[in-house]
């Protein structure tokens, strides 16, 4: 977890937006790295990012100590949108839970009833579920059954109900998980938004490296995403 304090007043950050972090302490990391914004405290001008160590860049972030400075560009990208109804399901898989805390708080504030399903391989992958308790009904699912129900998120008992009453499902996690969720949503006629994690170079729509194929042609994940309604995504349904 990175706790960041901004010297200036924080701009308004919408749920689903991300930041591009410059990692200058790693000689093998040249490009910025995109990370979701996990939590914000406007009063303290601070925000948090949830970072999983997967390579040299993220490993270098783990070596930061209190007082170090980071160069980040934020907030970037679009955001999750408000649903039409008043009950939604949020699903986060592993570190894909990162953008979902802000979304949960945001929807709760709008008076929408939120169910959150957090999935992971083991109980160690279930990150801070207690933060959701004040805002949502929380369900947990692990591949090995060490916490919550056993299995992958789309095997959760809530999907036994053909008509769970959700007007939208929001998902973020590994691609196969999001595709499985999108199919569950689609088969029930529920709209589904996902946050994609395509490889990025610039983060501001200049390089066109992070594109995703949509029904309206290629779109950039960094500016026109990272949030997409799965109906727009080619090959998802």
């Amino acid at each position: 977890m990175l706790n960041l304090e901004c010297p200036d007043k924080l701009p308004e950050i919408l749920p689903g937006q991300f930041a591009e972090v410059l990692i200058d302490k790693s000689s093998s990391t040249y490009l910025r790295r995109p990370f979701s914004i996990y939590d914000i405290d406007y009063k303290e001008n601070s925000m948090k990012m949830l970072i999983k160590s997967v390579g040299n860049g993220t490993a270098s972030l783990y070596s930061l100590v209190e007082g170090d400075r980071l160069n980040i560009i934020y907030p970037l990208g679009n955001s999750f949108s408000l649903p039409e109804g008043n009950k939604v399901l949020i699903i986060g898989g592993g570190v894909g839970i990162a953008p979902m805390l802000l979304l949960t708080k945001y929807l709760n504030q709008k008076g929408i009833k939120v169910d959150v399903l957090i999935g992971g391989r083991t109980k160690d992958d279930i990150i801070e579920p207690e933060l959701y308790y004040p805002y949502a009904n929380v369900m947990i699912m692990t591949d090995d059954g060490s916490l919550g129900e056993k299995g992958i998120v789309t095997q959760h008992s809530l999907f036994a109900n053909e008509n769970p009453g959700y007007s939208r499902i929001y998902a973020c996690g590994p691609d196969p998980m999001m595709k499985a969720v999108a199919n569950q949503a689609f088969s029930r006629g529920i709209s589904c938004e996902v946050s994609l994690e395509n490889l990025m170079a610039c983060g501001i729509g200049a390089c066109l490296c992070c594109i995703v194929e949509t029904t309206q042609g290629n779109k950039t994940t960094c500016v026109e995403g990272p949030v997409f309604n799965t109906r727009q995504l080619s090959g998802w349904h």
């Binding site: 410059l22 501001i204 729509g205 066109l208 490296c209 992070c210 042609g217």
Partner: protein, 303 residues
């Protein structure tokens, strides 16, 4: 204050720093980070005669001190550029130079002709060096007769400033530079990306959908500098240097090697205000060394 302006043919640039094609969008993408008007010029994303979707994802792989890309000239075509993009950028008070590419000579000519009437497009840069397209692109830039033929065809219909951007993926870049100079190009820019490749050893798969892609970033700077130096000695037209420029010192090195102006590419992704820092840094360098103008250092490498 030292004079920063330079001339590329009849384009008077307020300073020698331009944004490289494909790394700066069309300009507005950078409005939040810098005053785009301060640039010597903007080289737009490549423009082709028809819409191009580009290559499939993944199109990018990070490599040591650089990156590979295989975007493949994604753009909506020249008609869309004229109708929808040009009105959003014509207010910039800098030279807007459109990077032009296509798969056929007729395509290049068509784009050039259509851009000619646009008042604020003061020049074009012929991209005969894109390594990421199956037809055209680099094929025009890796043989002297092809480079000459496309330059001549466009020269015949385009009387504003014509820059030709060269590929480094050749045995002798000087020959290509001479060939396009002989056909009437007003300036030569180099280098485009170096053809490269990256592999995921665990998955035993290439990292790019196209297998190969174009290498850019600081990793290619020594190669670029060498080529700029060789070409600057061989041609009379002004040379625009690029390849891994990330700070003012890099830019100065290219000027010393003989470039009249420079383009900043991949570094824009790391620091979207880097061009301003480079302009200011060049001015500092000139002041520190008591030069009254940037033209005093161009091609003055002491060997």
């Amino acid at each position: 204050m030292p004079e920063l302006s330079v001339d590329i043919h009849n384009l008077h640039l307020k300073n020698p720093v331009m944004s490289a094609s494909g790394t700066f969008g069309y300009g507005p993408e950078f409005d939040d980070f810098m005053d785009v008007n301060r640039l010597g010029g903007i080289l737009t994303k490549a423009c082709t005669s028809k819409n191009r979707d580009g290559n499939k994802y993944p199109r990018m792989a990070e490599t040591p001190m650089g990156m590979l890309n295989s975007v493949g000239l994604q753009n909506k075509g020249v008609d869309y550029f004229i109708e929808s993009i040009y009105p959003r950028i014509e207010h910039y008070e800098t030279h807007i130079i459109v990077n032009v590419s296509d798969s056929t000579i007729d395509g290049y000519v068509e784009v050039a002709k259509k851009l000619l009437p646009l008042k604020k497009i003061t020049g074009i840069e012929l991209n005969i060096s894109c390594p990421n397209v199956k037809e055209g692109g680099m094929a025009f830039g890796t043989s002297c007769p092809m480079a000459a033929a496309v330059t001549k065809a466009v020269r015949d219909v385009y009387h504003k400033t014509l820059i030709v951007k060269l590929s480094p993926n050749v045995t002798n870049i000087v020959e290509i530079a001479r060939a396009i100079e002989d056909e009437g190009a007003d300036s030569v820019s180099l280098i485009n990306t170096l053809l490269g490749m990256a592999i995921d050893a665990e998955k035993r798969k290439p990292l790019l959908s196209t297998i190969t892609g174009g290498l850019s970033g600081p990793a290619i700077k020594p190669v670029a500098l060498r080529m700029v130096w060789q070409v600057a000695q061989a041609v009379k037209i002004p040379v625009i240097g690029m390849g891994g420029i990330s700070n003012a010192t890099d830019a100065i090195e290219f000027l010393l090697a003989g470039a009249t102006a420079i383009q900043v590419g991949t570094a824009n992704f790391i620091d979207p205000s880097v061009c301003i820092k480079i302009i200011d840094g060049i001015e500092d360098y000139l002041t520190r060394h008591n030069y009254s103008s940037v033209s005093e250092i161009i091609g003055t490498l002491s060997t």
